[in-house]
Symmetry: C2
Subunit: 441 residues, 2 copies
Amino acid sequence: MKEKSVRVGLVGFGTVGCGVARLLVENGDILRAKTGIRFELVCVVDLDTETPRPVQLPDGVLTSDLEVLLNDNTIEVAIELVGGTGIAKEIQLKMLRAGKHVVTANKALLAVHGSELYQVAREADRCIAFEASCAGGIPIVSALRTGLLANDITALYGILNGTCNYILSKMSAEGTDFAETLKEAQAKGYAEADPTLDINGGDSSHKLTILGSLAFGYELKLEDVYTEGIEDVSQDDIRYADEMGYCLKLLAIGQKKPNGKVSLRVHPALILKETALARVNGPFNAISLFGHAVGEVLLYGRGAGMMPTASAVVADVIDVALGNSKRSFDQVQVKSRQQIAGQIEAMADCESRFYIRIMAKDHPGVVAAYGKVLGDHGISISGALQHEGRGPDDTVPVVIVTHETQEKNMSDALAEITELDTIGGKPVCIRIVDIPEDKDD
Amino acid sequence: MKEKSVRVGLVGFGTVGCGVARLLVENGDILRAKTGIRFELVCVVDLDTETPRPVQLPDGVLTSDLEVLLNDNTIEVAIELVGGTGIAKEIQLKMLRAGKHVVTANKALLAVHGSELYQVAREADRCIAFEASCAGGIPIVSALRTGLLANDITALYGILNGTCNYILSKMSAEGTDFAETLKEAQAKGYAEADPTLDINGGDSSHKLTILGSLAFGYELKLEDVYTEGIEDVSQDDIRYADEMGYCLKLLAIGQKKPNGKVSLRVHPALILKETALARVNGPFNAISLFGHAVGEVLLYGRGAGMMPTASAVVADVIDVALGNSKRSFDQVQVKSRQQIAGQIEAMADCESRFYIRIMAKDHPGVVAAYGKVLGDHGISISGALQHEGRGPDDTVPVVIVTHETQEKNMSDALAEITELDTIGGKPVCIRIVDIPEDKDD
């Protein structure tokens, strides 16, 4: 091995940026012992150069001027941790055009402008590495890019947003309602002051766009992912589902269907409590992958946070320094938008089982009425739960679990049920996701 | 990307060899679509060229003559799937000296002769890739080599042998005894006709030698790993431990201790039933890793079998073809035997909690007698279980769980307890392993 030195620049000196600086500056000896490479963090750019940070940079490293980083030709690897799809895009483009390899945790940017950025990187003969963009410290990008590359990936099921998982785990464990639990998550630092992009499923969709592309080899756009958040999840449904053996998670799902189409979706999902993903609690993330050769592989760990995310960023810095990221970036292929035209399954065609809660008025003929609507749409009932006693407005909650049916049948049926005289308000509908079991016995 | 062609040779056309051939020959289009590389399996060597296999090779590919492979200079990557530490070593040496990169699943060979083989590979400017040697289809080697490389790994806990895990899971679920369950495992193909190396812990030690080296950056030898198997595990202890909240697993453990020493051991271990590893059942494998930055990361999947292992072999073939394996092999460092002299913790110094079952004669003063011995050795009791009624030879099983103590204290105490008049036979002693919880709440 040859001892070499690699100079690194960083833009965005926030929480994760400080974690990265800590690993590169304070733990440089660990990296050097493992890789034979001396990493030097020579330039850190942030508009705020005043606020004290939990890491000490060498003098002269921190600057508010991006040009300093761009003009330093000794910097090989540039890390973008600004986030968002605005200025961050300009920064990455400038980094690439200045001849630097880019390492980023910016899932939103890659999900929205990934194709354009990858193209610019190719033109500049540079690469973009993004292990940290999905599931924080879990090495899922490298698993898809290397260890599992021999597989035709048939499905992935991910818990990719720690904020949502924290909220749903708490609601489930403690019987609290959504608004109250969100406040608690904010107080504990598991949800941001503006939690919109987490709880509306947007963040998970960004990650699924990136992982789906790697898993299925398709050039994907954010619009390919159907997205629903957890804002409307109620304690009642968590409790009823629990009684029926299910647990509620915000899942990111990618499936290759028998007809060759790929379904990509993020939505609250009921999964059987025995499923491994059902046991992923609090701010943790996990991804179950199914490969045609390997069967199921599950990866679990911290999907966010200062040091776990920094761990992934620095892993990429090393991989770029070794030249491996560039080779994988150049060589690992995805099918273009033209090649996959019509290959993304429309949500209306997606089949699943459903959990429905109807607030039925306590009259004769109610069951016959909604039963007929479901039957008319070819939907059959696999289980039901109706406790004695009244709910609000003198209605009775009736919970129904259906067999598989297409989304469009269910939405048509629900529209009709909503119109029934004997029903109070719009029914609640949550998809049930049956994660395959890779099992011998 | 440039479309290129890579020619591959394979020695050992058994179960995994057939799986590899299937991926390279029958699924060549998947690999080509993902990597832009056309893999050609041009030579398969096996002494048995007659027995029909579940995969069809092109004419002229199968031969019993290793020289055909060695002399074909167009073959860049050679796969060794012969297994064992004898002829396989000669084959790998010849492959390397013939200028081929080596891909192997041979954990025994690498654990015993790894240092020598790596040295020969370096001299030949070639690499050895071994993702398939540990935990089958689980991409644990690539996780340690890439995605988690920025971490100082503080501990790893692995279920690395599917045969043992199948047997222990069955014994636990069905109340069967060891001998009977082993027979069933053999009938179902989860244990070999000669299961010695699986059930005596040898196979797990091989894997721990390899993973420990990657995780801690030490040049390890098989002798560095303390090893016990599951041959003496009894149904009684599984049942008593279950009552006390524990589950029995054969664990491979690597820990970096506060004094800087590394503990490496394979033995039956009781772990709390709520632990993630406790839920790994049947022939599955899993590894919990703890990194100073990333926290806990867990990987789960199939640790053996034709296609899962082939998935890992072919992932390495791709990685070698991309040039990435070679760079990692050249650059990723381990400390030499001289540098780590005295750094492997002796088993006698290892601290843990213990489960002890004593067969006490039903006399006054028994508790005082063994209690005194434990106390004299500074061992304090954290829990005990004694059901009413008699066991064999008119003895009563008394189960004790201790606080942490060093192995040597416990073995000294057990030797004395064995000598007590009031005790029937040698006590059973099983280590309790407290896997840290990476948890916020």
